[in-house]
């Protein structure tokens, strides 16, 4: 842990007597002890990623900001960050999960959670291929690119080398057997599926596509998804437009794919307030758990400032923000207040009682200052 973060704990320890600041750790950069190793998690330092083994503790930091459009297939977050429902139906066809939302709304964190769930529930490490869809006009070339990217997963360990050779052979056969302009993607991916199952059965194959590029038509990546579905067990697809996600899910479901849609919307004042209350509750020391105000040290008006419409005509009344943006501002406001209190404490000679009680609240003005930075 670095010096800067250590200073928060020191300050908070000095302020444990204050209801407003009776916190164990910085709620936005909490210290967590995993396997006797203290480590620090930082909101805004990247997406949550419990799929990486060293980040399993990220599960506790998930907050349900999502809209689960197909709860019978994929639904909700438990208190421990796990999905309540994640059912892949029986049958040959894979599960396709569409995640809609703009950057900063928690899409990647959700994808990582899904990967974690796949790994945990199958008790096997999935073979994950992540691709940012950038299609050419030549479908055959697109298929070749996808196949080559998939093959790169099989570099280590030793037995993977056999799989890699088999896959490359399949790609070569496919290239040679193609006639005319028909890309014949289905043959390619089915062959590759057979190769993988023969060598390493039961390992889930997951493709993660980023189709948020507006230049790529939904028609094109739907076609790719259907072809790749012959190889994959799970396809996770990012799209930015809600409508497209809804339509694609309906079309895929019509073709008997198990399709589920999760929307990662921007958060409003209410949702962010609930997140903040949960976060503060988790880090508040027991003595102040019931006495302190729900959002302390944040004044309720400070949150309103964050979600207030900007000056000018035509601003919507219900302002929504990407959660990463909202978190960054809340974190900045909290850190600024800590710095201010540290200086005040030093000036007061370490006597907390000498500090004006109003100083312990993050006010509207504090929030405005944080937003200006």
């Amino acid at each position: 842990m670095n010096q800067a973060t250590n200073s928060y704990e020191i300050l908070l320890a000095a302020l444990t007597g204050r209801q407003e600041f009776g916190l164990r750790t910085n709620p936005f950069t909490p210290t967590v002890v995993e396997n006797d190793n203290p480590t620090r998690f930082e909101y805004g330092g990247g997406p949550l990623n419990p799929f990486a083994e060293e980040n399993r503790y990220h599960l506790r930091y998930y907050f349900d900001v999502y809209d689960w459009m197909d709860p019978h297939a994929v639904d909700g977050l438990n208190g421990d960050g796990r999905l309540r429902v994640f059912e892949r139906g029986s049958g040959q066809k894979p599960m396709i999960v569409l995640i809609s939302g703009f950057q900063g709304t928690g899409r990647t964190s959700l994808k990582n959670l899904l990967l974690f769930e796949i790994a945990t529930r199958s008790a096997k490490e999935p073979i994950v291929t992540e691709i940012k869809i950038s299609l050419t006009t030549d479908r055959a070339q697109d298929a070749q690119n996808l196949a080559s990217t998939f093959v790169k997963n099989f570099t280590t360990p030793t037995n993977m080398g056999n799989v890699r050779n088999a896959l490359q052979e399949s790609i070569k056969n496919w290239r040679e057997s193609r006639l005319g302009s028909d890309p014949n993607m289905e043959f390619l991916f089915q062959s590759m599926r057979n190769d993988v199952e023969a060598a390493i059965p039961d390992r889930p194959i997951v493709f993660c596509f980023d189709a948020t590029n507006h230049a790529t038509s939904p028609d094109a990546w739907r076609q790719i998804c259907k072809a790749v579905a012959l190889l994959a067990d799970f396809v996770i697809l990012f799209v930015s437009d809600r409508n497209q996600a809804n339509l694609s899910k309906t079309i895929l479901a019509q073709s008997n794919y198990q399709a589920a849609w999760i929307d990662a919307p921007a958060v409003d004042h209410g949702k962010m307030g609930r997140f903040l209350a949960k976060r503060l509750r988790e880090e508040r020391i027991a003595a102040h758990q019931h006495a302190a105000a729900e959002l302390a040290p944040f004044h309720p008006d400070a949150l309103k400032v964050l979600f207030s419409a900007t000056q000018g005509a035509g601003q919507p009344e219900n302002v929504t923000l990407a959660i990463s943006f909202a978190l960054a501002n809340l974190k900045r406001a909290f850190n600024n207040k800590c710095n201010e209190l540290a200086a005040a404490l030093q000036a007061a000679g370490g006597d907390v009682e000498k500090i004006d009680p109003q100083c312990f609240w993050i006010s509207e003005a504090d929030m405005r200052d944080a937003m200006k930075a």
């Binding site: 028609d219 809600r242 409508n243 339509l247 899910k249 079309i251 019509q254």
Partner: protein, 327 residues
């Protein structure tokens, strides 16, 4: 009665007869008759009196006509009158006044016209023409005057013979008394030829209107031909892209109409899907405009109706969608 009585009676009869003859001859001399002669001038036209007295009764010697001034003058009117058209073939009804002057005479004076159609006459009111509705005499009878006979007469010309531009009437005004030769004065009435601007406009319209009609027919024919070709091209396009069209209806259109939750702005999504599948390029312009308008207002019912009309090969499939949606 004896012989003397018979001689006295005979002398009385002869005396009376002679007196009558004498009186008649004197009267004829004072009247005078004028011979009719047309003379064109702007000055007063005078007629010559040609007296013709008949001698009646035996022994009466006819009195030759005296070479004297005509009994009437017709004066104070133009020798030629030009009538301007009001609008196209409509002409104003012209009116002219003239003065009939003559010595005092017993007996009424008659005025009429000749060669001027059904010109109507009346005495002028304050030297001006009265209203045409008040004038209905073609032969005007004027009572005799004591002293100099002087009357201003108003004459409404009959516009009927002046229906054509440039038409003209060479007419006469006749004034006479009983047993006298009429005094004849000439009057020319002509209608102005068509105004130059009217001729120019007529020429222009005479060329422009046929040219415009020709252009209009040509344009109409071109439009009909172009539309027929566009429809034929679209029919060929539908055949070539039948699979893509079918896929659009089965997948995209079905999904747009049946998605849960409902798709936002389905009209625009349909238009976008058609565009992405390149199904709009050969659509005839009128149908495309109708479809675009329906998509812009998110009228899915109208969109389906238009698609059914434009894609008759897929109408059964679209009907299924419409039925499924309405359920």
């Amino acid at each position: 009665m004896g012989v003397l009585g018979e001689i006295r009676a005979t002398l009385q009869v002869l005396l009376i007869f002679g007196a009558v003859v004498f009186a008649t001859s004197c009267f004829s001399q004072s009247q005078g008759a004028s011979t009719t002669k047309t003379a064109e001038s702007s000055a007063a036209t005078t007629g010559s009196l040609a007296a013709e007295t008949g001698s009646h009764g035996s022994g009466a010697t006819p009195v030759p006509p005296a070479a004297s001034a005509p009994p009437f003058f017709v004066t104070s009117y133009p020798s030629a009158l030009r009538v301007s058209p009001r609008w196209l073939n409509d002409v104003e009804i012209p009116c002219v006044t003239f003065l009939v002057i003559g010595p005092s005479r017993s007996g009424s004076v008659r005025v009429t016209t000749s060669g001027l159609g059904r010109a109507r006459l009346a005495e002028a009111v304050n030297d001006k023409c009265p209203l045409p509705s008040a004038v209905d005499k073609e032969v005007l009878t004027l009572p005799p005057a004591v002293g100099l006979f002087e009357r201003r007469i108003a004459m409404w010309i009959d516009p009927g013979p002046l229906s054509e531009p440039g038409a003209a009437m060479d007419g006469r005004i006749l004034v006479w008394q009983e047993m006298t030769t009429p005094v004849v004065s000439s009057l020319r009435v002509e209608r102005a030829p068509t105004a130059t601007w009217f001729t120019a406009v007529s020429w222009f319209l005479g060329i422009a209107i046929p040219a415009g009609i020709t252009y209009g027919f040509g344009r109409l024919l071109a439009n009909v031909t172009a539309r027929s070709k566009a429809k034929e091209d679209f029919r060929t396009f539908r055949e070539e892209r039948s699979e893509t069209i079918g896929q659009f209806i089965r997948e995209d259109l079905f999904a747009i109409l049946n998605a849960k939750p409902p798709v936002e702005r389905p009209g625009m999504v349909i238009l976008q899907a058609l565009h992405e599948k390149k199904l709009l390029s050969k659509m005839p312009q009128r149908e495309f405009d109708q479809l675009k308008d329906a998509c812009l207002v998110q009228d899915t019912r109208k969109i389906l109706a238009l698609l059914t009309k434009m894609l008759p090969e897929q109408s059964a499939l679209i009907d299924k969608l419409r039925t499924a949606k309405s359920k």
